[in-house]
Structure formats: structure tokens, C-alpha cells
Symmetry: C2
Subunit: 369 residues, 2 copies
Amino acid sequence: MHFASPLALQSGARLAGYDLTYETYGTLNAAKSNAVLVCHALNASHHVAGVYEGQDKSEGWWDNMIGPGKPVDTNRFFVIGVNNLGSCFGSTGPMHVNPETGRVYGADFPVVTVEDWVNAQALLLDALGIEVLAAVMGGSLGGMQALSWTLQFPERVRHAVVVASAPNLTAENIAFNEVARRAIATDPDFHGGHFYQHGVVPKRGLRIARMVGHITYLSDDVMNEKFGRQLKNGIDLSYTTQDVEFQIESYLRYQGDKFAEYFDANTYLLITRALDYFDPARAYGGNLSQALARATARFLLVSFTTDWRFAPARSREIVKALLDNRRDVAYAQIDAPHGHDAFLLDDARYMNLVRSYFNSCLSNESLGS
Amino acid sequence: MHFASPLALQSGARLAGYDLTYETYGTLNAAKSNAVLVCHALNASHHVAGVYEGQDKSEGWWDNMIGPGKPVDTNRFFVIGVNNLGSCFGSTGPMHVNPETGRVYGADFPVVTVEDWVNAQALLLDALGIEVLAAVMGGSLGGMQALSWTLQFPERVRHAVVVASAPNLTAENIAFNEVARRAIATDPDFHGGHFYQHGVVPKRGLRIARMVGHITYLSDDVMNEKFGRQLKNGIDLSYTTQDVEFQIESYLRYQGDKFAEYFDANTYLLITRALDYFDPARAYGGNLSQALARATARFLLVSFTTDWRFAPARSREIVKALLDNRRDVAYAQIDAPHGHDAFLLDDARYMNLVRSYFNSCLSNESLGS
């Protein structure tokens, strides 16, 4: 969907005009009361569920969660996935032409924040004629957007489902983002963010960024279980410094190579910065309880025991701040081995929890049945 | 000290001849029974204590631990620090000329292992006329060398002090090493490890490697305490993707820049591989108790609660394996906030523990007093 009116951004900059790429699943009911907005994290997109015709491997990134008969049942809910501004899957981003200059944005694409994304998502809902969401949901950075929805548009959100998220990043989280950014920005093929016109891609930097990211998505336990100290070619130690020898190395290199083929370097910088900046309590001197006072939605928060990127304690900070405001909060800490990645994986307790939340808490009020 | 005889390495390769750079502190007694060998970790050297004349800032890396009147008291013990083969602080390494080819080794420097280092250290002790060590000690990778001493030369070690170490690396540890190695090896200035002849240094890669390393040396807690989410220039958010904005970023970039000025890229590859390979239990099908059966030394093991790189549980694996063999083991887990770095920092309980171990356990037998 094209938006011709300029969008004022939190940084003070503005986007002259922009497109938002989105997908919908299911049917909006007559009362327009069954809409669920799904917000994506770093490297995902609007394509949250289903497969594209003739493309077997095009499964949406939350396809186990969303679809007909699934925990978020598209037979009953109208689900919307939207690609965020600055991303690289269709919505206006760094690889597009700036209508005001006629040149590709590149590194000049304005910095976007979680709040900016939520503002843009709200304008999309306006265009779709949806005043109030049955729910907004997301994991990780997507959960930050869901939380921000309840603060920016409290009257437009009935439920917020915030999974494996945090009220802000820790210094360690920022540090890992910074390593990834430096790997990209110091790659000679980055050309200060204007690599498009040089016909190159800073793949070295993207690979390193992805490898670092991937380590933080997994738990130490699951890494040991999946890869351990297994050597790629059995016990014949070849003793080299640069070749792949352990399975974990092979896996990380593969992940890095794959990522560098499709992801945009400027998008990586933009999205990790949005993560760094998000901090609704900043304006309240760090007092999260005060910051969340304006939220009126009902909440489901979910965390995973082995998630060390967004540890359960970070979710509990949100829970506590909401309870301080006597809000309606359900919280589950799932004992899962998979680290941060658990929010994307099948776990019967997790799936059943979301299913039952949507069935019992949302369905009656949203669907009028 | 120059060694003219070739050294056979674990990989099957050999070093035709080599130098070992070392320092000693204190005086070897007549019985040659008061020698303490201190093994260094990734980026340290033979210079474990004291300052060089006229160079105020040349403090040894374990100067708080070792010196006159310090926990390892050089008024009583004869302390030896030795730079490991393949390192870049004087002992033969990748930046030196291969006597067999007349060319700088570069990436052709043979892979060295913890076992190789211990063999070379033993030859240095032979040359110094020291048959039996009062103690071998080290932290992190240095602790692995101390442990390996007790297996390779059980009759030559009376005590082993193994601090913040592990019986091998986890998949996550290897993964972080691999990210650092890839950052170095894919830096265009690396030139396949032969950058010396191109007159360049792969500084981009070294910076990233050091930044990744540094994150893993610190605890999440201490990072939050030292840097938190503090912005470098106060609360005036400038919203950029590439500039330094948070204090933690500034700190990491500084550490990376400093490191890239003095550390050798090939050494980084070699030493991280030595870390990856170390695994005394491998030859025993993963059974550490069997692997440690040959150790006859008495042990002090120390770990730190917030060390997530070499977590206390890893030290306890060693303790358990030694106890399975009814060895004499003291173990302390220090409740310190500083993560892996704690092994280098002042902590009264830690310092007093080592002091009392050396005073009560070593002094009488070693010094005959």
C-alpha cells in the first residue's frame, strides 16, 4: 500500500512518501473486531504464515503459530503481517529511491524506531478501516512493537501478546549489536552504506553479523546437544587454523552465507539501532511502572528459561510494571532448551498456551460469539 | 633462549629451531624446589609481573598476584613466565622467518596445541635445570596448560593452580572463536595469512575479534553496572546507525582499536585453535575421570560465579574427575561480579585464597622451612 502523505519520524526526519508491504490471512468480520496484527523481529517480514503458490519452501516465519486451526486461528481471526519501514522485504527501505533526491537512500535512509514502525502500522490499519485490534503480538523485537502499541495507541489494542521480549536492551545486547554493525560498516564493500551504486554487497560483514546473532539466539545447552565438540570429519584432527573443523563452525558459516545472500546491510544497521533505542521508560527516568501506566490492554507475556538474549527476568520486569498499574496480565515462563529461538519453535505447552489465550480471552469478546 | 633441536608437534609438523622468551622473578633456591611456572592465556605474555625500568605502564598482566609480598611471593618462590610458541611477544611465531625456507612463516606457521606448549615449557625448565615445579599455575587457557602439565609430566608438578578454566571448550565457546577467526580471515588485508609481505595488517578483523572476545570476558551484570544504557553524549539522541552512541560501544571500539595495534592476526588464529582443540578426555571417549587418572599433583581450582565463558560448572567437572581418582583437590567458587575477567582482578577473597594456598600448602615442602 502506498502512502503519499509524509511520515514524521522520531528522529526529526521525515519520509516524503512510502510503501508498506503487508499480507492478511482470514477474513475481517463485519464488526471489524477480529483483527490481529503480528509484528516481526530483525530478519523476518510481513510473510508470517502460509506458503506462496508453487513455492513449497516459502513457509511464513510463524507458520506453526498462525493459520487455519492453529493457535492463532485464521478461521476466526483476521491476521495482518506488515513489513517494517527500513526493512528489505518490500516496504520502503534503504535500497529504494528517495523521491526527494531521485537517488537510492542507502545510508541516508532515516533512522527508524519502534515507535515509528507502530505509527506506520497504525496508518495501515486506518487504511484498512480497522479501528481497534483484537490483539497485537510479536516475539523479540516484535514483542517490543506490541508493547509500544499499548503505549502509543492504548485505545486501539484489546490484547497484547509479548513473547521473548524485554523493556529495553542490556549493555550486553547493545554490545553484540555493535559488533555486528562494526563488522558490516568496516567491510570495504560497504562504501559508507552506498554500496548499491558500486555493484557490491558487504557480504563479509553480513556473514559475521549473522554468526554473532545466531550464537545469541541459541542456548549453550542446545548448541552442545546439537553440535557439541563434534568434528566435521570425524576424529582425524587436521589441525588447521582457517578450515572448518567442528560442526558448529560449519553450521555458523552456512547460516552466515545464506543470510548474506538475501539481507540488506543498511537494514541490519537500522533494525539493530531500533532495538538499541527502544526504551519506553527513558522518558520516565527509567521507571517502567510509570511508563506503562498508560497501557490499558490485557497482556499475555511469555518467556523461555534458556533465553539469555532476552532472559525471563526481562519479561518479568514488564509483568511487574503492569501489575504495579493493576493491569490484567498472564505470564508464562516455558522451560524450553532452545534459547531465544524457542519463540519460533514448536513446543506443545507454548502453542497450547497461546491457543487457549486466543480461544478463551479473545474469541468471545472479539467475535461476539 | 634459543633451542636448536627440532620440536615435534602434535599435528605431525615440527619446528626446526625456535626461541622461547621468558622472564623470571625471585631466586631459585639451592634445592631448585621453589619454581612456579605461570602460563598465559590468549593475549598475554611471559611478562607476568613487575614493570620495566623507565616504563611506568609496563605492569605485568598478573602483577596483582605475583611479586614480592604478593599472593605468589617472589621473595620465596622463583616464578617463571614464558611466552608460548606461535604468540607474538618474542617466542617464535608467525611473524618470524622459517629457517627452513628463509621466508616469514605467516599462515604457514604450524598449528600448536596446549600439549605442544607444555612440551616446549618443559624443555625450557630442563635448560634452567629445574626438574620439579613447586607449582604450575594459570587462568583460562593458562589453566588448561597447568592441567595439561599434570597429565604430560605428572612427576614434575607438585601443585597445579587452575583458575577460571575448563576441561575443554563448549560448542558456544568454539562458536565465538570461529566468529573472531572469520572476521580476521575474511578481512581483505589478511591475504591468506601472508599480510606481512603486503605491508598491511588485518586490523578490521582484529578489532571485531577483540570486541567479540571482550563481551565474553565480562558479565552481563558488570556491563550493565559499568555502562548500562548510558548514551555517550547525554540524553540528546542523535539517531544514527553508524556513530558511537552508547558508552558500551565506545568502550568496545576502544578495546578493539588498541588490540589491533599490537596483536598478530595469525597468532589469534593459532591460539583460538589451541583452545578449541584442548580436550584431554577425547582420547578416553570423553571420560574425564579416566583422562585425569595419571595426574598426581595436588590441585587448587578457582572459579567465579558470573563467568559465563568458563562457568563454575566447568571447573567442577575437573574437581569431580580428580575426586573420582581420590586426588587432593581444593576448590573455591568466588562470588565475583566481573565475569571471566575476574581471574585478573583484585578480589580480597581470591587473593587471600591463593596466598594461603601458597603459604600453607607449598611453602613448607618446597622451601624446606
